[in-house]
């Protein structure tokens, strides 16, 4: 028993050393620096931001980093009004916003948006044309696309959603979404609504896919981060960090760290594809 404990302790120590060694390099830049960085905006970014912040603050306790949500629009607005240092968005800054605020954008990851249905829905594959007709309200029964005889329940996101923006532009080709569609407020809410409604169809960020929902093939293409990365799955977007003017000081270092080689694992672990 005692011996086993010792081995476990040694293993743990080894793992900790290894982690420490692997992470030390990119964090050197923060040595001797102090100050605070405030981050807000897109909710898809949060896992990556939190992990980067945790590593930096562990290496250098004199730096404080706070990460808040709010959504893409809020992120752009807050950084534009200088209320935060970095405003995240899941869509590019619009021309009107840029004219007003003068922001600099840093895309650090690529995220795909997948069509989802309930896990026990027998439909395995849909064409882009079928999906467009379903969301437009022209196809209203699952039996018309090879499923059972049941009315299709549409779920969509609010207009502020970056996920909706990319899905609407790249898959629905800016087509109409039936006004009878239910509207949910986040990727998480979409997943829980679709997973419990056997007749549902909706869409979530690929990072949110798990076994509670099913992503049918799109025109024969399996929907995964890999197909999104090699470009065969077309419904993808970039995740941006935005600053007001060129960043400086520790904010610049933070952005450099997220865009650098040492944060790649955090981006992949969060379900996204690094741009670098």
């Amino acid at each position: 028993m005692k011996k086993r404990m010792q081995i476990a302790a040694m293993l743990l120590a080894g793992v900790l050393c290894f982690c420490g060694a692997a992470m030390a390099d990119g964090l050197d830049a923060f040595k001797g620096k102090s100050g605070t960085i405030e981050i807000a905006g897109g909710t898809a970014h949060i896992p990556v931001m939190k992990e980067a912040a945790k590593r930096i603050m562990t290496a250098n306790p004199d730096i404080r980093i706070t990460v808040a949500g709010g959504g893409s629009g809020v992120g752009i607005q807050k950084v534009g009004e200088s209320l935060v240092d970095i405003g995240n968005s899941g869509r590019p800054v619009s021309e009107a916003e840029n004219a007003k605020y003068g922001l600099v954008s840093f895309p650090f990851a690529v995220d795909g948006v997948a069509t989802v249905v309930a896990a026990d829905n027998p439909v395995e594959e849909l064409t882009a044309e079928q999906i467009r007709k379903i969301f437009a309200g022209e196809i209203t029964n699952w039996k018309d696309v090879g499923g059972k005889d049941a009315a299709i329940h549409l779920y969509t996101r609010d207009e502020a959603s970056g996920t909706r923006a990319v899905y609407w532009k790249k898959l629905l080709k800016k087509g109409a979404i039936a006004p009878s569609a239910n509207v949910v407020a986040s990727n998480g809410a979409m997943k829980s609504a679709v997973s419990r409604d056997p007749d549902a169809i909706g869409y979530v960020s690929i990072g949110h896919l798990d076994k509670t929902v099913k992503a049918p093939k799109l025109d024969g293409i399996v929907v995964t981060q890999e197909t999104a990365k090699d470009g065969s799955y077309p419904v993808v977007r970039k995740l941006y960090m935005n600053t007001k003017g060129e960043p400086s000081g520790i904010v610049k270092l933070f952005i450099g760290y997220v865009m650098g080689p040492d944060c790649v694992d955090a981006i992949i672990d969060s379900g996204y594809i690094p741009t670098h």
Partner: protein, 274 residues
């Protein structure tokens, strides 16, 4: 000290009103008003109609009242002598406890239990519906209404009890002919307070009503209220027309609340007790 507190709260309300007025100002030209007062909400197509949301708010709050008003009246009568005495305190205790349940708990429980039940029981729509939201909303406003009624009945009922008994009235007769007419103000106050809460609640409609921008054709249809609409759109691009149309929603809600409060004051300040 009291004056300062009063002044601060008055100023805060005034500031909110002026802020809303300032930001909603562009909408109150004839052109701006026509833009908002229409049925189509397609922000990317330049249509910012909020009429479906106004209809949604009216439908939901009135239907919640229709369910909650008779229930709260029944409970208030029950705990004020109509029901068995030993049950009065526990029932009142449960109602008081209900006031402390956070809205999000009601919403969360309903998403897991009520919505799937409605979906499978009626085989129409996804379960996220006017009906689901109305039922939970009535549960939410019930304790407020019961407690207002109770405080009124517990004053009136002991006063008329002896007289009623001397006249040979049964308990039920005493309630219908004496207590209820004498409590007219309390009845109105509880209705107004309950209605105010029903109009203003955001989380229940946001989580349960489905938020489709469409006037409902049945209680099983998905609807969107003004409050849920603001919550959904507030994160949008802040220089867009969609964002600015929110101030009209805020204005309508604010004016509704003011109207409800003015109504309450008018009722409470009315002459005499009848």
């Amino acid at each position: 000290m009291l004056h300062a507190a009063a002044a601060v709260s008055c100023l805060a309300v005034l500031a909110v009103f002026l802020f809303l007025l300032r930001f909603a100002a562009p909408l109150f030209s004839t052109e701006g008003l026509a833009k908002v007062m229409q049925w189509r909400w397609e922000p990317f197509g330049g249509h910012f109609g909020i009429l479906p949301m106004i209809v949604g708010t009216v439908c939901l709050s009135i239907s919640a009242m229709v369910v909650a008003a008779p229930l709260s009246l029944g409970i208030a009568c029950f705990v004020n002598g109509m029901g068995p005495k030993r049950l009065a305190r526990p029932v009142l205790g449960v109602v008081q406890f209900m006031t402390s349940i956070p809205t999000v708990v009601y919403g969360f429980v309903a998403v897991f239990l009520l919505v799937p039940f409605i979906r499978s029981a009626f085989a129409h729509g996804s379960g996220f519906s006017w009906l689901a939201a109305a039922l939970m909303l009535s549960l939410l406003i019930l304790p407020t209404m019961v407690l207002v009624l109770h405080s009124q009945f517990s004053q009136v009922e002991p006063e008329v009890r002896l007289t009623a008994a001397a006249l040979g009235l049964s308990k039920a007769q005493a309630f219908v002919h004496l207590v209820l007419p004498l409590s007219r103000r309390g009845l109105l106050a509880s209705a107004i307070l309950g209605f105010g809460r029903a109009v203003g609640d955001t989380l229940i409609p946001l989580m349960l009503a489905g938020n489709a921008v469409k006037p409902p054709e049945s209680v099983l249809d998905s609807i969107r209220t003004l409050t849920a609409h603001i919550a959904l759109v507030v994160a949008t691009d802040s220089s867009s027309g969609a964002y600015h149309s929110l101030f009209a929603c805020g204005m309508i809600l604010f004016l509704t609340t003011v109207a409800v409060n003015a109504g309450l004051r008018w009722v409470a300040g009315g002459n005499g007790r009848a």
